[in-house]
């Protein structure tokens, strides 16, 4: 053979999982490192009370980011999730106040979340309308609808047993249990099931996935339905922590959730990422927000820092892909 074929150079760090594991390791190091640095400046940051607040107050973001990661890995996006969490929290609280059985007030948001997201998923998958357009429409419907229906009134006098998030098991608070379980189960499923694999294939190359017998449309519908389930779970953790449920959600909640997914290593172009990464990133982002307060930086900088983090992550992802493409490029 006169033409030479050269094997691609072996690199010491190969393999999708090892690469992603390193992204997760990086986040874990950042979480610990930041705690140490901020603790040195202001020891009160490391108080158990504060660390618990960071985890408990943001567990719902991590739970929602699990579903968001799946959506982004499948090559889609959802910007309606923040508004949906607000609606589901209100529905759940209203049911509890109206005297519905507590289990019903906990289960209805899960079912409703699946229904709303599955409907959006169906429109995205079968009518082939870009997810950003569909979910932007839903965002407005949910936001406007919530204010109109509630008239902006807050839900108060929630029954005592409504507060699922106040429970704990073996001393571990419920939000943390839910966060860890949701992340672990989703991670196992994404990694070990054919359907989880189908999500990566669909996001990586829908046409190739289809030719391998994967049904990309069904996959997208399934991903959105699952995302709805996690949104319902997130709304439950969120609502049952509150004494008063307002008819608005935290400013830019959907962006925080998307940021967690992306900083967690989910490629915005689809096909790459893990839910373990997104959960770690949600914790890191919450930690940064709290740290800014403890080192006396104006809270207005929070958004700027979060923005810088997302840009840095996306740029790193794109650079990594370009390098990979350059290495893999052949005649």
């Amino acid at each position: 053979m006169s033409a030479t074929a050269v094997a691609s150079p072996a690199s010491p760090l190969t393999g999708a999982w090892r690469r992603l594991a390193s992204q997760e390791a990086l986040l874990a190091v950042a979480i610990v490192g930041l705690a140490i640095v901020v603790g040195l400046i202001n020891p009160r940051f490391l108080a158990t009370r504060n660390l618990a607040d960071i985890l408990l107050g943001n567990a719902y973001i991590a739970v929602a980011a699990v579903g968001m990661s799946m959506v982004i890995i499948s090559g889609n996006i959802d910007i309606s999730v923040g508004a949906l969490i607000g609606v589901l929290a209100t529905v759940s609280g209203s049911l509890a106040v109206a005297g519905a059985p507590i289990l019903v007030s906990w289960l209805v948001p899960l079912v409703l979340g699946v229904a709303v997201m599955a409907a959006q998923g169906a429109v995205v998958a079968y009518l082939r309308i870009p997810a950003i357009v569909v979910t932007l429409g839903m965002l407005s419907i949910l936001k406007g609808g919530l204010i109109s229906v509630t008239g902006g009134k807050w839900i108060t006098d929630l029954p005592q047993n409504f507060h699922l998030a106040d429970l704990s098991l073996f001393g571990v608070p419920m939000p943390v249990i839910i966060m860890v379980l949701a992340t672990a189960l989703a991670a196992l499923w994404m990694r070990h099931s054919p359907r989880g694999r189908a999500i990566y294939a669909t996001g990586g190359n829908p046409e190739a996935a289809r030719l391998c017998g994967v049904n990309p449309q069904r996959t997208v519908l399934m991903v959105f339905a699952l995302h709805g389930f996690f949104a319902g779970l997130a709304s439950l953790v969120y609502a049952t922590q509150l004494r008063v449920i307002q008819s608005t959600t935290p400013q830019g909640l959907e962006l925080t959730i998307i940021t967690a997914a992306v900083v967690g290593g989910v490629s915005i172009l689809g096909g790459v990422g893990t839910v373990v990464g997104s959960t770690l990133a949600a914790i890191l982002i919450a930690e940064i927000t709290s740290a800014l307060v403890f080192i006396n930086v104006s809270p207005y900088w929070t958004d700027a820092v979060r923005g810088a983090l997302i840009l840095a992550t996306v740029i790193a992802d794109i650079l990594r892909r370009q390098r990979r493409a350059a290495q893999g490029w052949k005649r």
Binding site: M1, S2, A3, T4, A5, V6, A7, S8, P9, A10, S11, T14, G15, A16, W17, R18, R19, H192, S193, P194, R195, R197, A198, Y200, A201, G204, N205, E207, A208, A209, R210, L211, C212, G213, V214, N215, S267, G271, V272, R321, R324, A325, Q327, G328, W329, K330, R331
Partner: protein, 516 residues
């Protein structure tokens, strides 16, 4: 070679207008050109001949300024030049007409010709009148009387658009015109008109580099022919002093023997029987049979409907009428999912867009088509998945550091082996291959051919589409020829000669095979 750019040749009147000497070009992992020399004289048509992957495209991309060579020199009218972009090449009088025409369908013929260098009437305004007159002049120069400067390009046929591209090149005063497979998408009448235009260009002293792998065209239009093989210069001949047999010998060397090792496999019962398949617009009533252990080659020009037929058989574009029987049973294939479940495998033409999930690992790409087979109770058995992928990597000699490597990082040939290999876990009965060796290096090509032979020996029925005639002739037990959406000829291995198959592809009168 130390100073490849400062080659100093004395300009002389006899010097060819374009010369390239000892061109070297290497891409990561592939030696694309090694020591290739080539020249075109004014008023000459010089054909560049070679199989896919021989280096023709790389060479013309270097001549036209798309790539810079790693070594060697380019001389225009005896002066050493260095092109760092296609604009440089055009300024030096070298214009290229690519297979994909780069025209603006919404604009008129005149606007397309002068796009970017329209005659100006001062203050940056376009002098429309002068532009139209110039366009008329160019049309007249090539004696083209059936085109007007005011026609909108989008409404023209492919042949006419190509002539607009030629006019555009002339409007830059091109003295060297490179035509990359100009007849690939043309009808016979258009080919005749194109040749008229090329002859007029010659008379005007334009040197034409003509790339094609159709020998009959080379004998019809070219004065000289240079043959490349595996990135190396094989030889140059005066067309008047050579013949088809010699050129084929130069093109393929002795490789027909060792590159196409179709082994004798016992041919069994029909696996695929298709009757009167129709899927508009390009499948117009096709009937064919492929038997176990048989490799059936499907030849035809680009646009003849070969790939469309494959897509219909695999359920990507399900047939509108007609029926398909697999292993004797009537089936309706309405999606790739069904096709896979029925034991059909398909390796698409465009492995980047359709074959491979680039961001996923080799491991996961290998198992993607057979995930069901590895799964128990909804979970993938990762140990057997890995065993299968490692076996596949070994069997296909995929060059990768490990199965965990990202598939998109491998070379084209290795990617193609994965796209083919992933189907084997599924134990397919029918394998449809669309251009299985396009754009991959010779070593990988030989391995894919060897595997095709092995699979046939195991009783798999193979339908192979290929634009490389030697591949079709070498690998196939039977050759079917498709033209304009229909099967027009069928040849047994013994009857299938490049002349006969080529004539059937072109629709020539001398079709030697029995009409199907």
């Amino acid at each position: 070679m130390s100073e490849p750019w400062e080659t100093d040749a004395a300009p002389s009147l006899a010097a060819p207008s374009l010369q390239v000497r000892d061109i070297e070009k290497t891409f990561p992992g592939v030696r694309a050109l090694s020591g290739v020399s080539f020249d075109v004289r004014a008023g000459e048509v010089h054909a560049l001949l070679g199989e896919n992957g021989a280096g023709k495209s790389t060479l013309i991309k270097i001549i036209s300024g798309v790539y810079e060579p790693d070594g060697g020199s380019i001389l225009v009218d005896g002066r050493s030049v260095r092109f760092s972009s296609p604009v440089d090449a055009r300024r030096a009088g070298v214009a290229t007409i690519y297979q994909e025409l780069l025209l603006f369908p919404e604009l008129t013929v005149a606007e397309n010709i002068f796009l970017g260098h329209a005659p100006l009437a001062g203050a940056g305004r376009v002098d429309w009148r002068a532009m139209r007159a110039e366009a008329e002049r160019l049309l007249a120069a090539l004696e083209i009387d059936d085109l007007s400067p005011d026609q909108v390009v989008g409404a023209l046929t492919v042949g006419n658009r190509q002539r607009v591209e030629i006019l555009r090149a002339l409007s830059y005063d091109a003295r060297i015109l490179i035509m990359d497979e100009p007849t690939a998408a043309l009808t016979e009448a258009d080919v005749t008109r194109l040749f008229d235009v090329v002859r007029r260009l010659k008379r005007r002293g334009v040197g034409v580099v003509y790339i094609s792998h159709r020998l009959d065209e080379i004998f019809a239009i070219a004065d000289r022919v240079t043959v490349l093989r595996d990135g190396a210069f094989v030889g140059a001949r005066e067309v008047a002093g050579t013949n088809a047999a010699e050129l084929v010998q130069m093109m393929v060397g002795r490789r027909i023997d060792n590159l196409f090792p179709k082994t004798k496999a016992p041919i069994g019962a029909p696996v695929l029987e298709a009757r009167d398949l129709v899927r508009r617009p390009l499948t117009k009533g096709v009937s064919l049979t492929v038997r176990a252990g048989e490799i059936v080659g499907l030849a035809g020009l680009v646009g003849s409907g070969r790939s469309e037929l494959a897509q219909t058989l695999f359920g990507i574009t399900p047939s509108e009428s007609g029926d398909i029987r697999l292993n004797g049973g009537s089936v309706r294939i309405d999606s790739p999912e069904t096709a896979r479940a029925k034991g059909v495998a398909y390796v698409p033409e465009d492995r980047g867009a359709q074959g491979l999930v680039r961001p996923m690992s080799v491991l996961h790409n290998f198992s993607l088509a057979a995930l069901g087979a590895f799964s128990h109770a909804g979970f993938i058995d990762r140990a057997s998945e890995r065993r299968m992928a490692e076996k596949g990597v070994a069997r296909f000699s995929v060059k990768t550091s490990s199965v965990d490597e990202i598939a998109g990082r491998l070379s084209g040939g290795n990617q193609q082996k994965i796209v083919l290999g992933k189907w084997l876990a599924n134990n397919p009965r029918l394998l449809i291959l669309d251009e299985p060796t396009r754009g991959i290096d010779v070593g990988a090509k030989a391995e894919i051919h060897r595997l095709m032979g092995e699979l046939a020996a195991e009783g798999v029925a193979i339908l192979m589409i290929s634009s490389e005639l030697p591949e079709v002739l070498g690998m196939s037990d039977r050759v079917l020829v498709m033209r304009e959406g229909r099967l027009v000829a069928e040849f047994d291995r013994a009857q299938a000669t490049s002349e006969a198959v080529g004539a059937a592809m072109m629709g020539g009168a001398s079709s030697a095979g029995k009409a199907a």
